[in-house]
Amino acid sequence: MPMKIGNQPFFDRVDEGINNDFMQNAVSSAQDGLRGRKLNATIYDKSLVDWEIWRSAGEEIRRHTLENLDYYLKQLSDNWAAKGGHVYFAETVEDAQHYIQKVVKQKNAKKVVKAKSMVTEEISLNEALEDIGCTVLETDLAEYILQVDDHDSPSHIVVPSLHKNRGQMRDALRKVGYKNSDKPEEIAAFARETLRQEFLDAEVGITGCNFAIANSGSVSLVTNEGNANMVTSFPETQITVMGMERIVPSWEELDILVTLLCRSSVGQKLTTYVTGITPGENIEDIDSPKDFHLVIVDAGRSNALGTEFQSALHCIRCAACVNVCPVYRHIGGHAYGSIYPGPIGAVLSPILGGYEEYGKLPYASSLCAACTEACPVKIPLHELLIKHRQHIVNGEGHAPLGEKLAMKGFGIGASSPSLFKMATKLAPKAMKPLVKDGKISKGPGPMKPWTHGRDFPAPSSENFREWFKNHKKETKKGEE
């Protein structure tokens, strides 16, 4: 199934994550490292004057674009086509797969090179192309390592191999003949050497798209390794796959969003390469593709249009939310079971893939709001998680019966102060049998999971309302 990774139930994946010390160490040290870099490139960077103003600008650009998405998509597609490029709107994952398969078949192509792209992961493009007999090679270093490591899945949307440490990366590359150490420069040199010929041999190059520029009919790629530039210059045929929301009105807005993206995701002022590609522009050049295809993917995105979830489509895939998420920190990306992990994954995956498959994800958050605070385009991520929970409670997903009953009780208690007062008076008596040495170490019902690893306090022996009444009387007496 597209987008999905792994077949185990959610809690099994969580267990696997929290018992994987290698992964936890890799993730927490990455988070801790990225945190300082991001702060230095955002809030602490005085050259930006005020990071909050940039965030607001980003939010405004994204909101405006999404509110006028039909207009900008038409503009983009008209401009792309006017320059000789092909445009295809894929309503479903299958539509996207079939179109790309068709293009590749028409070219009689067997060798495909790819740059890192989440949307192609989302539509399981590699598998679809392998099905028709192509070799598909990932050329982003991290994606390459995952691919040679028996097709391991990405666990992060910017740093796909975040769950692996250097030793594990070295070991993965051993499978394709790597003999050196776990030094990054040696690993990179190996990949560079191995991939060079593949770029030269490839007939089709496929990339994702950071942002398409509507009024120019162009796409842009924001990268560090330069592999995407190879993918987009050597092969004769160029296919760009983009989520339909990844669009800006003009280069001016791109400027702001790229600033937000680079600084938020990896704490860089700018990545090594920001590349703009326009069909037919340099068609006479020896290293320019001759045929350009733009595949614009919906695949569930329109479910969010015009709903309270529309702002989820504002996402620019910087992973700033993932990088500060304490839940992600402990369970890792694979536990989410979706190629979109972390807070944005917990919001987006149910929109694209439904509650049946991803209904647990909105609950995998303590609602600490670190994500909302980190988002460079101000998506209220933790609020969207609560909205998902509301939809699940209202019958679109499966809310546990026990919880429903408890909340019903809560609703009744909440509207009746006398009932509430009675409950607070009764609680100490009701809980008394459980209390030992002033605490509860083993509780029934909802207290059970709590007391698995934590003690629970005994109810206060003194009733506050009574204390307050007496206290007031005494103070009054004192004053008289």
Partner: protein, 258 residues
């Protein structure tokens, strides 16, 4: 002297488990010249229902609270998280303009306890004394959603004998998260475990916080692991050894928050 009229919102957790914190809060506010009252109609703020997606049940609680605190000049609560909930009530009533107006009026007069002392009363030195090496848990809702990152530190700075050591990764959630702690208990446990590890790194003998819920979580883990670290609400520290004030400060210095 004008006496500010303060309505105490103790929170359901406070009322059920931490009456002592409520007493400290009352005494401190009175000592600072406030007239404290306790609206009897108060219940839970509705956050457990709201955060779990039960909007209608949460609204019932919110309406009851708006009703209970209608006459208040100031509402003060010893919880950053529950204060945030009051501040966010208006968002719940987008479809009910009448209630939205009331919710807005209520949000405007609601303050977290330390926030009220520092920003409304303009006081920072409460004359408290507490000999300990301590660290502070900055709770998520208070620091991020309420936006109050400083008030507790400004108050603690003046506590004689108290040494405050910065807590590594203080911005990471302790793993409480209301029903999250039960629903996703394996994850919650991992999170609180890391929090306790960082607390231990500081070698502090005391953890201070402004939310009983987080402290119940952190304390529950500390206690289970048999660590000798006290966990206290900031009001307990600020009401400790205050000269000339009537206080019931817990002299035996045992952890009051599991």
């Amino acid at each position: 002297m004008i006496r500010l009229k303060v309505s105490l919102f103790i929170t359901c957790l406070g009322e059920l488990f931490y009456a002592k914190v409520g007493k400290d809060v009352t005494e401190i506010l009175e000592r600072l010249g406030c007239e404290v009252d306790f609206p009897k109609g108060q219940i839970c703020c509705g956050q457990p229902a709201f955060n779990s997606g039960y909007l209608n049940d949460a609204k019932k609680a919110a309406k009851q609270m708006i009703h209970a605190f209608e006459d208040a000049d100031y509402i003060v609560s010893p919880s950053g998280s529950c204060t945030t909930m009051f501040r966010e009530y208006p968002k719940m009533f987008v479809d009910e303009p009448g209630w939205k107006l009331k919710a807005e009026a209520m949000a405007d007069k609601t303050y977290e306890f330390t926030q009220f002392i520092v920003h409304v009363l303009g006081v920072e030195d409460l004359g408290a004394e507490y000999e300990a090496k301590a660290t502070v848990h900055t709770s998520c809702h208070m620091s991020r959603l309420l936006g109050e990152k400083e008030a507790p530190f400004r108050l603690l700075k003046h506590v004689k004998g108290l040494e405050v050591i910065p807590l590594p990764n203080n911005y990471d959630c302790c793993g409480f998260g209301g029903t999250f702690s039960v629903k996703m208990s394996p994850i919650s446990e991992e999170m609180v475990d890391e929090k306790v590890r960082h607390i231990e790194e500081t070698e502090a003998e005391l953890v201070i916080g402004s939310d009983c819920s987080c402290l119940m979580n952190i304390g529950g883990r500390i206690n289970r692991k048999g660590k000798k670290i006290e966990v206290k609400h900031i009001a307990e520290i600020l009401n400790h050894h205050v000269k000339g004030g009537s206080h019931h400060a817990n002299e035996n210095r045992e952890s009051t928050l599991l």
